[in-house]
C-alpha cells in the first residue's frame, strides 16, 4: 500500500517535471520573451499592464507574428524581491528559452535585473520602472527603458510651474529613492527655469506609512505658494483627504507627479483633488488617432478602460516586436543592436530608443485634474514629447558609465 502510493507520487512528479519540456516542444515556433513583474504585490498595477501586453500579442500574432513566428510572453511573479527576480531572469533565459527580458514596475527590481542582464549579456527592456539611474548613472548597453523617466515627467511639471508667479515651494514625497529622485529632478528642472524660486519645506513620509494629518500640518506651517506632491497609492488618498479637510490646497498651485494616472486617481473616487497639475493618462478624451484606436481596441477586448499600465504593456510588445523585426534574428547581440536608434510607432506616436542612453522618447500627458461624474479626470491636457525633457547629451554622457 505504502509502496504503491509512493510510486504514484513519483509518477506524478515525473509528469510535473516533464511538463515544461512538453510546452516548449508544442510551441517550437514561438519567440519567447521573459516577463518579470510584481504580479502579487502590485496586483492593481500589473493586471492592466498584463492585459495591454496580451492585447498587443493577439494583434501581432493575428497579423502573422514576428519574422513569421508567433510571439509569446512568459509571465513570472518576483514578489517584488530583487533577488528573486534575478533567479527568475536566469530561469527564463536558460530554461524557458526566452530571447530577452522585460518587465518590472519597482525601480530597485528593475535595477537588479539590469545589472544582471549586463553581466550575462541578456537584453532587458525596462518597461515601467522610472528610476533615472537605470539609463543614466547605472546605465549599461543591455538595458533599454520604455517609459518617460522620473526626471522627464518632473521636468514637464516644472515647466508648468515656472509659468506661474509662485516663489515658495513645499514638497512631499515618499521617503525612498523614487521620492528623492522626483524631488531632486523637480528642483533641478525648476531652478534652471526660475532661479528665484525657494523650497521652504520638504516632507518625507515612509512609503505607505504616511501620517497624513501631521504631514499636512507641517506643510501648512511653511506657508508655501505651491506644493509638489510625489506620494501615491494609499498615501496619496490619505494625504488628499487630510489636505482637503484642513484646507491645505486652498489658493495654492499643486503639482502631482503621476497623480493623474487612473491607477492613482480612480481609488479616490469623488474625493480626487481638483485643480492639480499632474502627469497622467486622460484616456477618456482619446477618440481618434493611434491613441484613440488603442483605447477603443482595449475597451472592446476587455470591457474595461485602459490604465497607464495597459498602454505601457501594449507599447512594450510593440517595441520588442519592432526590435526583433529590425534585428531579423533572436540572437541577443542582434536584438541589442536593433534597439539602438529604433523607431516604434505607438499609440503615443513615434518613439525613438536613443542610442546615447537607451532611453525611449515616449512622453507623458500633462493636464489639470477635476472631478466629473464622481470621478477624478484630467482636463486641458497636452502630450509632451519625452525628447524635449531629457538632459543635454553632454550631461548624459557625464552621468553614464563609460562603455
Amino acid at each position: 500500500m505504502k509502496r504503491k502510493s509512493f510510486l504514484k507520487g513519483l509518477l506524478g512528479f515525473a509528469t510535473l517535471a516533464a511538463m515544461p519540456i512538453a510546452t516548449i516542444a508544442n510551441a517550437q515556433e514561438a519567440i519567447v520573451i521573459g516577463e518579470i513583474n510584481h504580479y502579487k504585490r502590485m496586483a492593481a498595477f500589473t493586471a492592466p499592464y498584463k492585459q495591454g501586453i496580451e492585447l498587443a500579442l493577439e494583434e501581432i500574432n493575428g497579423d502573422g507574428g514576428v519574422m513569421g513566428r508567433p510571439l509569446e510572453f512568459i509571465f513570472r511573479d518576483d514578489q517584488g524581491e530583487p533577488g528573486e527576480a534575478i533567479k527568475i531572469a536566469e530561469e527564463l533565459m536558460s530554461n524557458e528559452g526566452a530571447v530577452m527580458l522585460t518587465g518590472t514596475i519597482l525601480s530597485n527590481v528593475g535595477l537588479a535585473i539590469s545589472s544582471y542582464a549586463a553581466e550575462k549579456e541578456y537584453v532587458y527592456l525596462a518597461s515601467e520602472p522610472l528610476a533615472d539611474a537605470l539609463v543614466w548613472s547605472a546605465g549599461n548597453p543591455y538595458t533599454f527603458r520604455l517609459r518617460a523617466s522620473t526626471y522627464m515627467q518632473a521636468a514637464m511639471l516644472a515647466e508648468e510651474a515656472a509659468k506661474t508667479d509662485a516663489v515658495t515651494y513645499a514638497t512631499i514625497a515618499p521617503n525612498y529613492a523614487y521620492g528623492k529622485d522626483a524631488v531632486a529632478a523637480f528642483k533641478d528642472a525648476l531652478t534652471r527655469l526660475r532661479p528665484d524660486v525657494e523650497f521652504v519645506a520638504e516632507q518625507w513620509p515612509g512609503v505607505f506609512k504616511i501620517d497624513a494629518g501631521a504631514e499636512v500640518q507641517a506643510l501648512e506651517r511653511s506657508k508655501p505658494d505651491a506644493i509638489y506632491n510625489v506620494t501615491f497609492g494609499t498615501d496619496l488618498a490619505k494625504f488628499v483627504r487630510e489636505g482637503t479637510d484642513r484646507g491645505l490646497f486652498d489658493g495654492r498651485n499643486v503639482y502631482g507627479l503621476l497623480s493623474g494616472e487612473p491607477e492613482y486617481m480612480d481609488p479616490l473616487g469623488d474625493e480626487a483633488p481638483e485643480g492639480w497639475t499632474v502627469t497622467g493618462y486622460p484616456w477618456q478624451d482619446m477618440t481618434d488617432g493611434p491613441e484613440g484606436e488603442f483605447v477603443a481596441a482595449y475597451q472592446a477586448r476587455y470591457d474595461d478602460y485602459p490604465r497607464i499600465g495597459s498602454l505601457v504593456g501594449y507599447m512594450t510588445v510593440q517595441s520588442i516586436a519592432a526590435a526583433l523585426e529590425k534585428a531579423g534574428s533572436t540572437e541577443g547581440e542582434a536584438i541589442r543592436a536593433a534597439f539602438e536608434d529604433l523607431t516604434v510607432a505607438t499609440p503615443m506616436g513615434d518613439i525613438l530608443f536613443r542610442s546615447i542612453d537607451n532611453q525611449s522618447t515616449a512622453g507623458a500627458y500633462v493636464g489639470t485634474t477635476t472631478v466629473r461624474d464622481g470621478k477624478g479626470i484630467m482636463v486641458d491636457w497636452v502630450y509632451k514629447d519625452g525628447a524635449d525633457y531629457l538632459l543635454s547629451d553632454e550631461e548624459v554622457m557625464a552621468l553614464r558609465p563609460a562603455e
Binding site: A44, E91, S107, N108, G213, Q217, D266, G269
Partner: protein
Amino acid sequence: MEFFVAQILTGLANASSLFLVACGLSLIFGVTRIVNFAHGSLYMIGAYVGYSLIQVLPGVVGFWGAILLAGIVVGIIGVLIEMLVLRPVYKAPELFQLVATFGVILVIQDLALIIWGPEDLLGPRSPGLRGVVRIMGEPIPKYDLALLVITPFVALSLWYLMTKTRLGVLVRAATQDREMVGALGVNQAWLFTGVFGLGAALAGLGGALQLPKGGADLLMDFNILTPVFVVVVIGGMGSLPGAYLAAIIISVLNVFGVTYVPQSTLVLMFIVMIVVLMVRPYGLFGREEVAGEHGQVGEPERPIKPASNKARMIVGAGLFLLALLPIFGSSFSLVLATDVLIFCLFAASLHFLLGTGGLVSFGHAAYYGGGAYVAALLVTHANTPMELAFLLAPLGAGLAALAIGWVCLRLTGVYFAMLTLAFAQLIWSLVFQWGDVTGGDDGLLNIWPAEWLKSTSTYFYFTLILAVSGIILLRHIAHSPFGYALRAARDSKRQAEAMGIDTARVQLFAFGFAGLMGGLAGALFVFAKGSVFPNELEIARSFDALIVVFLGGVKTLAGGVVGAGFFKGIEETLLRFEYWRLLMGLLIIFVVIAAPNGVVGSLRKGLERSGLIKAGDQ
C-alpha cells in the same frame, strides 16, 4: 502654541487605532504567551469587513453599527483561528505558535485578495463628521475629535472589564500565573479562546475605526505590525495601561518628528524602543518574564552526538551528487542550487543561535544583509578585490553582531527578541536613508565576482564549498566545548554560572559567531546576484529564516538546514501558482499542527516509534 496644541491633538487621534490593535495584542500575549504575528492581519480584516458593511448599512447608525459589527466579526474569526490553529499547538516548543500565526498571515493575505480584489479601497467618510472644527484657529478634522473621545472610552471599558468583572479577575490571574487559574477550576482552554477573541475584536475595531482616515488595502497587515509591536514592547508586554501610554508617546512623538525632522519617520520609534528598553528592560509597565527561566518550555532537547558513519556516508553521497549538478543540470538549476545553499547557511547560522543557544533573534537579517552590504560597500567605494571582500564581510557582520549582542543580551525572552528586531530595523533604516553611501533602496549594483569565479558553475562550486564548510563548522562547534557551554547556559544559566562559566560572554560570542556566518551567507548572496538592496535587511528576511528553523525543528541539530532546503524547495514549486501564499500558509499551519517538533524532530519520533531507528540516534 496653537500649532503645538493642534499637533498634539493629531497625535492623540493617531494613537487611537494603534492603541486598539496594541492592547489586543498585549492582552493575548499576557494570557496565552502567544506572540501573535497575525494581529496585523486581523486589523486588516477589520478594515475590509467594516468597508463592506458600511456599503450596505446606511446613515449614521449604519456607519457606527458597521464599525462595531466589524469588531465582532473579527472577534469571531479570532475565536476560529484560536480553536483551529493555535489550540493544537499550545504544548509545542516555545514560540512555535508564532510560526502558526505566520501561516495565518499568509492565508489571510490571499483570502483578502480573493474576496476584496487588488485595488486599494478608499475608506468611506463618517456621516456627519466630514470637515473640520477650528480649535484655537487651527483646523482639526471632526473625525479626529470623535477618535479622541472613543479611545479613552474603549480604554476605560477595558479597564472596567479587567478590574471589576470575574472575567477580568481571571484574565489578570492568568497573566500572573497560568497554572493557578487552572487550579481554580477554570477551563483554561476557553479562557484562552475568549481572550484571543477579545484581542482580535479590538484589532478589528481598530481597523474599522481608521477607515474614514484611510481605507483598506493589502499592505495594511505588515504596515501596522511593526508599530504595534513597538508599542506593546515599550508599554510592557501584557500591560494595557502600558499599551495606552506607549501608543500616545509613539504617535505624538511621530507628529513632532514629521514636523521637525521629516526624514526621521523611519527610525524614530525604534530609537524610542531601544532607549526605553535600556532604561526599563521590561517596558514601562511590564514585569520580568518568569516563563522559560529554568531551561526550555516543553520536552527537553535530546542529547546530541556527532553524526554516525552511516549518516556521514549518506550526506557525503548527497553532496557528491550535488557536485555533479553542473554536468547534468541546466544553468538555472545551478543558480537555484546556489540560492538554496546560501539560504541553508543563513538558516543554519540562525539555528545555532536559536537551537544551541536558545537565543531567539528576530533580527538575524541584520547580519545576513549586513554581510552583503559590507562586501558591496567595499567593492563600490574602495574597489576592494572580491577575495578580500569575502573575508571582511563576515568579519564586519560578526563585529556588528558582537556590538548589538552586547546590548541585547542584557534582556531575555521576548524582550531580547524584540530588541534584536529593533536593531535590525535601525540598520535597515540607516541603509535605506543614507542613499549617498548605500544607494538607498536603489541598492548597490554591479558587485560581481572576480574573473576566475565568474562562470555560474564555478560560483556554484565556490558556494557549495563555503556553505557546506560553514554548516559543518556550525555543527562541529555545537559539539565542541563551546557549543556545550552554550547549551549549558541555555538549559540552566544558574548552574552554568555556578560552575564557573561566564554565560554572558559565551552567549555574546555565540551571537557574534552566528552573525559572522550569517554575514558569510550574505557575501555569497551579493556576489551571486550582483546587487544588494535594503530588503535583504528587512524583517521579512529575518522571518524567512526563523520560520524554516522552527519548521525544520529547533531542538534537532539538522533542523535549520533541512528546514531551509525543504521549504525553499516547496516555495519554489508553490510560487508558480496564483494563490501560492494561501497554499504556503496552509502548509505551514499543517506542519505546525502535524509536526510540533519540526520536520526533523517529528520524523525522528515517527521513525523511533515504528522501530526503524533506535531511540537516541541522531
